[in-house]
């Protein structure tokens, strides 16, 4: 298929939808449904006044911090329960219960404890993002090929070497999946926290624009945040490919 039409097809739907948006919005004339030609200037305004950058920086900084915290914690816990069978059993009940508590429901509690601060955002997001890391690391570690472990015994590798040289690299693909999921979850939860309570960052701007009836800004923010999510997902996949040159990354799934 020639290059032009290969790219034309995927581009067709977004372009078509945008065109349809323009037409329908103009026709309906609702305030709550501004056409793209009103959203674009609003977007530009946010960009040039720097409002977009400072808020994005704030949100992203917390997303990354939460991701790192949940990553380190998750991998450590996952390693522990993956390697030690009784630890797995003992942690099952707690994990299966705690991971289903919707993080957004925790926001009020955390606000009571830490107030309307960055810490609240970090805590809630890290809490939400840690579960996929724990679960994927745990299962990745527990499912290391027995044959490889036997090789380790035959070569008389010490326990630390076994973990470092055999278990962790073997579990790396699973850990990577967990980390990718946790990044996505961090973004979602940080933004949600900013919408629900903590007055800072992209989520807050979104809600304020909505309350101030600046619909064009609302749409601008929605598109912007959506693209941010996409960007992070793509970066994560790319990083995964970089870290594991010997295989292709597991296709993204939830």
């Amino acid at each position: 298929m020639p290059a032009v039409s290969r790219h034309a097809l995927p581009a067709a739907i977004p372009l078509g939808l945008t065109a349809a948006w323009e037409v329908i919005a103009r026709a309906l004339g609702y305030d709550s449904f501004p056409p793209p030609d009103r959203v674009l200037p609003a977007f530009w305004e946010l960009l040039s006044t720097g409002a977009l950058w400072t808020n994005t920086a704030h949100t992203l900084a917390i997303v990354l911090a939460a991701w790192v915290v949940s990553g380190v914690t998750g991998i450590t816990v996952g390693l522990a329960i993956g390697l030690v069978r009784p630890a797995w059993r003992m942690s099952q009940t707690s994990i299966e219960f705690l991971r289903f508590i919707p993080p957004v429901a925790l926001i009020p509690v955390v606000i009571i404890i830490y107030g309307f601060s960055n810490t609240t955002e970090l805590v809630v997001a890290a809490y939400a993002a840690v579960w996929p890391v724990i679960l994927n690391t745990g299962s990745g570690v527990a499912q290391v090929d027995r044959r490889l472990l036997e090789v380790g015994r035959l070569l008389r590798l010490g326990p630390l070497d076994v973990v470092r040289k055999l278990v962790l690299p073997s579990a790396l693909p699973a850990i990577a999946v967990g980390l990718r999921l946790s990044l996505a979850i961090s973004l979602i939860v940080v933004v949600t926290t900013e919408m629900v309570g903590v007055p800072d960052g992209l989520g807050f701007q979104l809600v304020s624009s909505s309350q101030a009836l600046h619909q064009d800004r609302v749409y601008a923010y929605v598109v912007w945040i959506g693209n941010l999510g996409l960007l992070l997902a793509v970066l994560a996949l790319w990083a995964e490919r970089l870290v594991m040159p010997w295989r292709r990354p597991v296709r993204a799934e939830l």
Partner: protein, 254 residues
């Protein structure tokens, strides 16, 4: 080395006792399910026999000893896919030898199996035969006194098998370790070994323990055309059939 065992609830090996001299190349042949792999695992220290003992060089074997190496049949599972060929070969040497010595041994081992030039490749890029050579190289680099091999060529096609059999003979000619090789292929056993031990179907016992007086160096065409080869094969088959018939008679008379 003296070895005698009887295995517990599922009685796999009933009564086995034999000795292997230093530098000897012994092949153990038998039908599927006769416990050849179990035997090897007991010899290597991976498995503790429920009765009987394994001795290597005047020391009792209860867990993998430092002077033994085992080559598995499923080479793809026994190699670390994230390590290059060279790093795989070095696995047993890290932390024990300095870098210079490690590289030297790796080079030598790879040269002996004919894989010079593939140091930087990943196992997944290599053919089955080449992967098995990497495993053998890893065992060689470890410089064990005893090399155990569990049906190492069973997962390969005939031509590759012949090539690797000869490679193994070359290696042994140079290094003269003690080798115990398990195979289901009687021809292979006769071709390779100084001595062939044939096992019965379970409950397993030694059916024959025959010295192979074919001249060395062996050659795929010459040796197999030698009338003594055919004679040996015939003798062993007859012995096996004898035992089978005796057992059937036993079973019938209850």
């Amino acid at each position: 080395m003296t070895y005698a065992t009887a295995n517990g609830r599922r009685e796999v090996l009933r009564e086995l006792s034999f000795e292997v001299g230093e530098g000897e190349f012994v092949c153990v042949a038998g039908p599927s399910g006769c416990g050849k792999t179990t035997l090897l695992r007991c010899l290597s220290g991976l498995l503790r026999p429920s009765g009987g003992e394994v001795w290597c060089r005047d020391r009792r074997v209860t867990e993998p000893p430092p002077d033994m190496a085992l080559v598995f049949q499923d080479y793809s599972r026994a190699l670390a896919p994230w390590r290059t060929v060279a790093k795989n070969v070095q696995l047993g040497l890290e932390g024990r030898l300095r870098r210079g010595e490690r590289s030297a041994r790796t080079e030598r081992a790879l040269a002996m199996v004919g894989l010079t030039g593939h140091e930087r490749d990943y196992p997944s890029h290599l053919s089955g035969g080449m992967q098995q050579r990497v495993q053998i190289a890893r065992a060689i680099a470890y410089e064990p006194a005893v090399l155990l091999m569990d049906e190492p060529f069973a997962s390969l096609d005939a031509l590759t098998r012949f090539k690797l059999e000869d490679t193994l003979l070359d290696v042994w000619a140079k290094l003269r370790q003690t080798i115990v090789l398990v195979t289901h292929d009687l021809d292979e056993a006769i071709y390779l070994g100084d001595r062939v031990i044939v096992l019965s179907a379970p409950p397993t016992r030694i059916v024959a323990d025959v010295a192979i007086d074919l001249p060395r160096p062996r050659d795929q065409l010459v040796t197999k055309a030698d009338p003594r080869f055919t004679l040996l094969r015939q003798q062993l088959f007859e012995r096996i059939l004898e035992v089978e018939r005796a057992r059937e008679a036993d079973d019938a008379s209850g």
